[in-house]
């Protein structure tokens, strides 16, 4: 069971110093308005340049570790699915592993049903197909912490469900999976949800409680209506 402890992780101008403590294999959703800081939190945890603060995974500091070590600790899927070079899908997955591990690659190709695409250059695949390849790349080295930015974007319904199920299996196996997402309809498959706005974590609850709260409606400026969502009337907001 993975334990993530983040102390004052920050990204100047985007994310204020944030403490985070999540334990156990879990599926955690990051939701929030555009530009609120979901991606920044993931990037800061991934340790991109400019990120400050300390990230510990199972008590081990992630900063300053070798590539081989970091591969086993964490993996990051950025929101961009663009790849400039004509690298075959199979080889992209292999880049997620330090050394070519043919068996693991074959396993992932089967899991994501990439058999027919495996030898096609990734820049010739559709965005949804690329997403499957890149999620497979992130999972390849079996990291303990998976940071995924919008993994469901551009996926057809079948693959939304399949990727959701794959992540659930990982979480049940002890991996901690942090997922930034926009589609609130996906929230019920998560164990916990963080609401991020204005560069800080505003709420941290079970998804059902989060969605039911007034603060949630206020930040998102929407209100639940007839099983869906409606724009929150402006007068209610100004009367406060």
């Amino acid at each position: 069971m993975t334990a993530l402890l983040a102390k004052e992780v920050a990204l100047p101008g985007r994310l204020s110093p944030t403490d985070l403590r999540i334990e156990g294999g879990k599926l955690v959703a990051l939701v929030g308005p555009n530009g609120g800081g979901k991606t920044s939190l993931l990037r800061a945890l991934a340790g991109v340049e400019d990120a400050t603060g300390e990230v510990r995974i199972d008590g081990e500091k992630a900063g300053g570790r070798s590539e081989a070590r970091r591969r086993r600790m964490l993996a990051f899927l950025p929101a961009s699915r663009d790849l400039g070079w004509p690298i075959a899908a199979r080889d992209v997955i292999a880049l997620g592993l330090g050394r070519g591990d043919a068996q693991r690659i074959a396993e992932l190709i089967e899991l994501f049903e990439l058999g027919a695409l495996a030898d096609r250059p990734i820049n010739r695949l559709s965005t949804g197909e690329r997403t499957r390849v890149l999620v497979a790349r992130a999972m390849a080295a079996r990291p303990r912490l998976l940071l995924l930015d919008e993994p469901f974007a551009n996926l057809e319904p079948y693959w939304v469900l399949r990727v959701g199920a794959i992540l659930r299996v990982l979480a049940d196996g002890g991996t901690l999976v942090l997922v930034a997402l926009h589609d609130l309809g996906q929230l019920d498959r998560f164990d916990r949800a963080l609401l991020i706005a204005d560069g800080a974590v505003q709420m941290d609850e079970a998804p059902a409680d989060l969605v039911a709260s007034e603060r949630f409606e206020e930040i998102f400026r929407i209100t639940s209506a007839q099983g869906g969502w409606a724009i929150k009337p402006a007068d209610r907001r100004s009367s406060r």
Partner: protein
């Protein structure tokens, strides 16, 4: 495939060194002099320069995530020429190693300017325009520096060298370029894996513990040394640094970082071939090798541009 390229390069190097055989046979002493003082430096320069262009071209293309980035198009070669002219005609350096250092400083300054103007993640148009602007400015400054140089013959002196020429260089000159460039290339090759990872995005490389910004400075600096040293000795030779990595990536299944080794071999092959052609073409005066590489490189450059346009519109 890799071995085929390696054998081709070795074969061409031997051919370049030994052909034509007749003058070496006439008189053993004259033959040795000819071999050590004329043939060997020339062969070393074409192979070393070609390899340096291939490696630094591949590294720059991987770094900028753009198949058009290369020592010539980034303005590095023009910057190196300016540096060498300033060093040679204004500061009065004549030591080959000092001139190589001036070339490296010029190339580095040009590429730093490119980084400032276009940035690392520039789209092709911005990169090309910024590189073009730097090349033009450096070219004009080179002409000005030559025109106003203390020596009135500077222009005539430098003309052949500016076009790229490997004729009549001494072994000392060859080594002055070869040694620093080899060291720089060895450091560049150590970055092959990290440059492959950068294909997945800088954030992914950073999440695996690499430091993209530091790496960018390192690669720009090392490429400047590799290219600048050779430009100082043999002038600016274009297109090899653009073409060799493009061909090399066909060998490495698209991986930009590990394309550096094949790019070095292909670069060396291309430049050796070009110099063999220069020597074989019966003209009453020597043709600068840079003219030949530009002549054959331009169509491929155009092909790349058309190809890019197609991939953008499709």
């Amino acid at each position: 495939m890799r071995y085929l390229i390696l054998f081709l390069m070795i074969g061409l190097a031997a051919l370049h060194l030994l052909w034509p055989l007749a003058p070496l046979r006439i008189d053993p002493d004259l033959g040795r002099t000819l071999f050590v003082e004329l043939r060997l430096p020339r062969t070393l320069i074409v192979i070393g320069y070609g390899a340096a262009l291939g490696i630094s071209g591949a590294a720059l293309q991987a770094l900028f995530a753009n198949p058009l980035a290369s020592p010539d198009i980034s303005g590095a070669s023009s910057g190196a020429a300016l540096g060498a002219v300033l060093g040679g005609y204004w500061l009065g350096f004549s030591q080959p190693l000092a001139l190589a250092a001036c070339g490296a400083v010029g190339a580095g300054a040009a590429m730093l300017l490119l980084l400032m103007l276009a940035g690392r993640r520039a789209d092709s148009a911005t990169l090309l325009l910024a590189g073009l602007a730097i090349s033009l400015a450096a070219g004009a400054a080179t002409s000005l520096a030559l025109a106003l140089a203390p020596s009135p013959f500077a222009f005539y002196d430098a003309f052949e060298w500016l076009m790229g020429s490997v004729v009549d260089r001494s072994l000392g000159q060859a080594l002055a370029a070869l040694v620093p460039a080899s060291i720089a290339c060895a450091f560049l090759l150590r970055r092959a894996h990290a440059l492959d990872l950068i294909a997945l995005g800088e954030d992914v490389a950073a999440s695996l513990g690499h430091q993209p910004r530091r790496m960018a400075r390192e690669i720009v600096g090392l490429s400047a040394v590799a290219v600048g040293a050779f430009v100082a000795v043999a002038g600016a030779i274009g297109f090899v640094g653009l073409v060799a990595p493009v061909l090399a990536r066909r060998v490495t299944r698209g991986h930009p970082g590990r394309a550096m080794v094949p790019a070095a071999l292909i670069g060396a092959i291309l430049l050796t071939l070009a110099d063999l052609a220069v020597r074989a073409i019966p003209l009453d005066r020597p043709l600068p090798i840079g003219v030949l590489t530009a002549l054959f490189g331009t169509p491929l450059f155009l092909y790349l541009i058309v190809n890019m346009r197609r991939s953008v519109t499709s």
